[in-house]
């Protein structure tokens, strides 16, 4: 919303104060002011009122005229002018020699063979409207040679307030409301508005009007006739233009002017079209043509202004084309009303049509405004058009009154909330300047919230704190730390593990952490041949490509691998993210926090890569939990999982995740000459593993015995089982020292380390154990290599 300092100064005397400082203070105390502050008129000088005394056609040009203009000086001035609307006796804006318009300085210069000593200006050239159809036509009775800026308020400071910062303040959608803030900030009085006395028309007939729907809180109207004026006064047009509105005609300009001044949207109907005003909703859908010519679909939720049963306007949003003021309109009906804010907001959404009027209504306007705005309207109307005649009594149906909000608090409450000392006098003065009715006895305060703040904005004591502190100025706050006792902090176990896991993966295994999205990108999955799997979808995804919430982290990571193929011949990525793996009985999402790790390596050494992943998982569990991991073969759940190498990761007998090889059909699409291994760990299950901690084992004084055994097999699993079956406490370590792969003659060499902390072992007792293991394996068909 654009605001005019001139307009604000109509209501509060800010003389002697720095405008820019005030605007900055407004930004800090009330609502955000955009950076681009405009100094209107500052780039114009030397423009005066001139009268065209003679007009001659240029001998060679059809467009140009040779003028003699009078600026009240001794001699007439010769001007060559191209405007089509020049006529003798017309007063216009004239840029004298030496005048400045923006970057241009006016100098005498030959134009199409004639000297031109100045320039007649259009309103656009002066910057007071976008009218460039001809030169300005000044109809006011002003002396020739008078500087234009002395007659019209061309010099002004225009600033813009971010609409978003006004959503909770219906009172700030007007210059008068903004002026109240300036008055509070500057500690100057706010001037009352001048109104017409509407009680003078009480004897006139009332308008036939009735609210038939609770969504209309108040409806006020008045009829009048004999408007002779068509074009608005220049100053009014300038203000409207500076504030971002186009001048249309006097009546339309007046309603817009009132809206910008008081925040009350108004609408003028041709009285012939609104003989029985009814405010209601219909029980069926229909189309309705608004005054912008657009046919709009109206549903039973939309509140309408009607003439009997004929809709004439969409309440709070826009009037109808059919009831618009036309050339032969004789009597006008002026509407000033208040509607339910949520209803208007929803209607604008359904109609996808937001107007200056609906924007204000959806903020919950003060119903007290309706009649005041009419009184102000009539007052201004009479100022500008003395022939106007009011022909009805003020007709007012005030169906819903907001409750009067009264709040009590004490000084201690203010002290506690602010943490600084603000004295009683400042509290009272600030609230009073903002329009609150304050009673103060000792340290106790009772405030009555003014109607314009009581529609939703100020409802509780804490709201009063905001009023006091924002005007006090947050920059003026003395700041200090809290007087609160300290206690040790305890990080959530899953957060702690997550941090440590990241450190190990980055620092120890040189993996890269990447972020992705919580939904599957269907297009990308298709490219690598993975089905889009998930248990729940977004209801309002703007893009069908991203509507499924992922069930596993891995497909996203495979897509990331694909997009990074050129990065390096081998790399690994990971992410701690969320997946939805199922639904509860109550239809709530089962969300899990998963660690996804994916390793990529050029070449075909799949086993090496698989074992690398195994090592990574074992390291994580060993470092953070001091536990060992076992792996068990799994049946694939997803189509990207390899049916042969897919293993559950088991710690303490509980499955915490899985590792697996990527299915060849996916690998063919991803990269034929590389292998990819993944792991997916449930972080909550990981965090739940009890930390075994390090148990210190002192050095043994007795030497251990190492026995190497080589078995004719390609699988370690049976050997491991046989050693476990031996259950010998003397075996302190089992290491695989060699794997020889040769179809029939494959062998695995194992080194067993025996020791005891209390004695030296004998060769015999050790051999007894190994013999037992060898015999055990023999039964399984695994023979010792001789």
């Amino acid at each position: 919303m654009f605001l005019s300092m001139n307009w604000i100064k109509d209501f509060v005397d800010l003389s002697g104060l720095d405008d820019l400082k005030l605007i900055n203070q407004f930004s800090l105390s009330t609502a955000e002011v955009e950076n681009d502050i405009q100094f209107k008129g500052s780039d114009i000088s030397g423009i005066v009122v001139a009268e065209i005394k003679s007009v001659e056609n240029h001998p060679e040009s059809k467009k140009l005229h040779l003028l003699k203009v009078d600026i009240g000086a001794d001699e007439l001035i010769d001007v060559v002018c191209g405007a089509p609307n020049v006529r003798v006796g017309m007063k216009t804006a004239f840029a004298k020699v030496g005048a400045k318009i923006g970057e241009i300085e006016i100098t005498p210069r030959p134009l199409a063979g004639f000297m031109s000593c100045g320039m007649c200006c259009s309103e656009k050239e002066i910057g007071i409207s976008d009218d460039h159809s001809g030169i300005m036509d000044i109809t006011d009775d002003v002396a020739l040679g008078t500087a234009l800026k002395d007659i019209y308020a061309i010099d002004d400071i225009i600033f813009e307030v971010d609409n978003k910062s006004l959503t909770n303040r219906p009172d700030l959608w007007s210059h008068y409301g903004i002026a109240r803030e300036f008055a509070a900030i500057a500690k100057r009085p706010l001037k009352p508005l001048s109104f017409d006395d509407l009680s003078a028309y009480d004897n006139l007939p009332k308008v036939d009007m009735k609210i038939e729907d609770p969504l209309c809180y108040r409806y006020s109207c008045l009829q009048f006739e004999n408007i002779s004026r068509n074009v608005s006064p220049v100053d009014m047009r300038i203000r409207l233009y500076y504030c971002g509105m186009r001048a249309i005609n006097f009546l339309a300009d007046m309603t817009n002017y009132l809206m910008l001044e008081m925040g009350q949207p108004m609408h003028a109907f041709d009285s012939r079209k609104v003989e029985n005003i009814r405010i209601k909703r219909f029980d069926h859908d229909f189309t309705f043509q608004t005054l912008d010519g657009v046919e709009r679909n109206i549903d039973p939720e939309t509140l309408m202004i009607c003439n009997g049963d004929t809709p004439v306007a969409i309440a709070g949003i826009m009037g109808g084309l059919d009831s618009e003021i036309v050339e032969d309109t004789h009597t006008l009906t002026l509407e000033s009303a208040t509607f339910d804010a949520a209803s208007i907001r929803k209607s604008t959404v359904r109609l996808s049509h937001r107007t200056d009027s609906s924007m204000r209504y959806e903020k919950s306007l003060d119903p007290e405004l309706t009649t005041a705005a009419i009184a102000r309207f009539v007052y201004l109307l009479k100022q500008y058009d003395s022939g106007v005649e009011v022909v009805s009594a003020l007709t007012d149906d005030y169906a819903y009154h907001y409750p009067q909000v009264e709040l009590s608090f004490d000084k201690a409450y203010v002290d506690k909330y602010t943490g600084i000392e603000i004295d009683n006098k400042t509290i009272v003065g600030t609230l009073q300047r903002l329009g609150f009715d304050v009673t103060n006895e000792g340290d106790d305060f009772t405030v009555k919230v003014p109607s314009w703040r009581a529609t939703k904005d100020v409802t509780i004591k804490a709201d009063i704190i905001e009023e006091i502190t924002r005007i006090y100025g947050y920059d003026n706050f003395e700041i200090h730390t809290a007087n609160a006792p300290l206690f040790p902090t305890r990080p959530e176990p899953v957060k702690k593990d997550e941090d440590n896991v990241k450190d190990i993966l980055v620092k120890h295994f040189n993996l890269h952490e990447l972020h992705s999205y919580v939904w599957n990108y269907v297009d990308e999955l298709k490219e690598v041949g993975i089905k889009n799997e998930g248990v729940i979808k977004l209801a309002n995804a703007s893009n069908p490509n991203i509507e499924t919430i992922r069930k596993t982290m891995i497909p996203t990571q495979l897509c990331q691998v694909k997009s990074n193929l050129g990065y390096a011949p081998s790399f690994g990525i990971f992410e701690v993210g969320r997946v939805v793996t199922g639904m509860t009985e109550d239809d709530l999402c089962i969300e899990e926090k998963h660690l996804g790790v994916t390793l990529y390596q050029k070449g075909v050494n799949v086993r090496e890569l698989y074992f690398r992943m195994k090592t990574i998982i074992e390291t994580l569990v060993d470092e953070l939990k001091h536990k060992t991991v076992s792996f068990e073969k799994l049946e694939p759940e997803f189509d990207f999982e390899h049916p042969v190498n897919l293993n559950a990761v088991i710690v303490d007998g509980k499955v915490i995740g899985k590792i697996g090889l990527i299915h060849p059909s996916v690998m063919k699409k991803l990269d034929k000459r590389a292998c990819v291994v993944f792991a997916e760990i449930d972080m909550d299950k990981f965090a739940a593993i009890e930390n075994y901690s390090i148990r210190y084992v002192g050095p043994s004084k007795f030497p251990g015995i190492e026995i190497d055994l080589s078995f004719l097999t390609s699988r370690f699993a049976p050997i491991k089982k046989a050693i476990e079956r031996a259950a010998c406490e003397l075996i302190k370590d089992v290491a695989v020292i060699d794997i020889y792969e040769a179809d029939e003659n494959s062998s695995i060499a194992v080194r067993l380390t025996f020791s005891d902390n209390s004695r030296t072992l004998t060769r015999e007792e050790v051999t007894a154990v190994t013999d037992g293991i060898i015999a055990d394996l023999e039964k399984d068909g695994v023979l010792l290599k001789k």
Binding site: S27, S165, A462, N483, P491, H515, V518, F571
Partner: protein
């Protein structure tokens, strides 16, 4: 015999200087001092001598033996030194201008910034919380004073799921749970609630260089008997100065957020121009960084905390924004691009 001895002596000295490496020296030692060496032979040849001669000659041979051992040892040391000298001479000088690179892992920049914030707040007594991404309408809105039909719901384009749950549009969705979690300790043991909650948030909006549908925020809450606006400004200023590792100026403006009253927009002085105005801060000298405010009494009540007895502040720091500012990331989409070329730069930042 003596002649022989003298001959041996001079031959040894000749051969010693000729021995150019440890192997030659060793064979020389064997030839003279070994079991069948020349000096040993001399002793063997003494059998034929008289006792007196044996004594005299024996002494001479023993002296020779000793001298020989010493000079061989001396020569060995000389050779060692020569060898080291030679090794040094052979060593080339390295050209360190040759580029080298050790492949290192990397963190996501959000992780780095998040850790920094967590560290700072932990030192100030704040607990770090964890919270889901899928939340209920109650958690995200109702519990934080945004009832149905509230215009604030329009401001946030929320992603709803088909079961009526939603992807949290703000970390404030965790506030209610945090208040309920620590409320009992506040009431019973007087332990102030101090918690931060970093998390991923979602907004249903079109993405461009400055807008993402997925981004990170960090919620912070502090509740105790006398928490004030003054405390809020202090904590924000302190924390931000720590994050940016310099003294940060903060500025509060009124801001409207349903979960706080009063609510603020917090600006910091532009880090690029220092506050004098530059294109980065749109020539204002200030950057809007973080909404904050005093927790709305309704929010406290909904979290089981009596707003007459306790007050608190809350803030929502944009971690994504912070990471972009800290590292000069111009396009927000880079962060979720999954591009290793770009993201592998963030090896660590301690």
């Amino acid at each position: 015999m003596k002649e022989k001895l003298e001959q041996l002596k001079s031959r040894l000295s000749e051969e010693l200087s000729a021995a150019a490496d440890p192997q030659a020296l060793e064979s020389l030692r064997v030839r003279y001092l070994g079991k069948k060496g020349s000096i040993t032979d001399l002793l063997k040849g003494m059998k034929a001598l008289s006792n007196e001669e044996k004594k005299e000659f024996g002494q001479l041979v023993n002296t020779l033996k000793q001298q020989a051992a010493e000079s061989i040892q001396k020569r060995a040391e000389e050779l060692k030194e020569l060898e080291i000298k030679k090794e040094i001479e052979l060593m080339p000088e390295f050209d360190l201008t040759i580029p080298t690179k050790e492949e290192r892992g990397s963190y996501h920049p959000i992780t780095l910034v998040q850790r920094e914030c967590e560290r700072i707040f932990t030192t100030m007594g704040f607990n770090v919380e964890d919270y889901p991404e899928v939340v209920t309408d109650y958690e995200c809105f109702e519990a934080v004073n945004v009832p149905k039909n509230h215009p604030a719901r329009d401001m946030q384009d929320t992603y709803y799921l088909t079961n009526g749950e939603l992807l949290k549009s703000q970390t404030s969705a965790a506030q209610n749970a945090i208040l309920k979690k620590y409320g009992p300790a506040l009431r019973e043991k007087g332990m102030p609630i101090r918690a931060i909650f970093p998390g991923r948030c979602f907004r249903n909006e079109a993405t461009d260089a400055t807008h993402e549908n997925t981004f990170f925020q960090m919620e912070g809450v502090m509740v105790d008997k006398d928490i004030s606006i003054s405390n809020l400004i202090y904590f924000m200023k302190t924390m931000l100065s720590e994050v940016f590792r310099r003294d940060i100026k903060v500025r509060l403006r009124p801001g409207f957020f349903p979960f706080v009253e009063p609510g603020f927009e917090l600006d910091i002085n532009c880090l690029i121009c220092g506050g004098t105005g530059c294109p980065s801060c749109n020539h204002s000298g200030w950057l809007e960084l973080c909404p904050c405010g005093m927790i709305h009494p309704e929010v406290l009540k909904e979290g089981g905390i009596d707003p007459e007895e306790y007050t608190g502040f809350a803030f929502g720091l944009g971690l994504t924004r912070l990471a972009m500012m800290k590292y000069g990331v111009k396009d927000i989409r880079d962060l979720n691009s999954g591009s290793l070329k770009v993201m592998s730069q963030f090896t660590d930042d301690k």
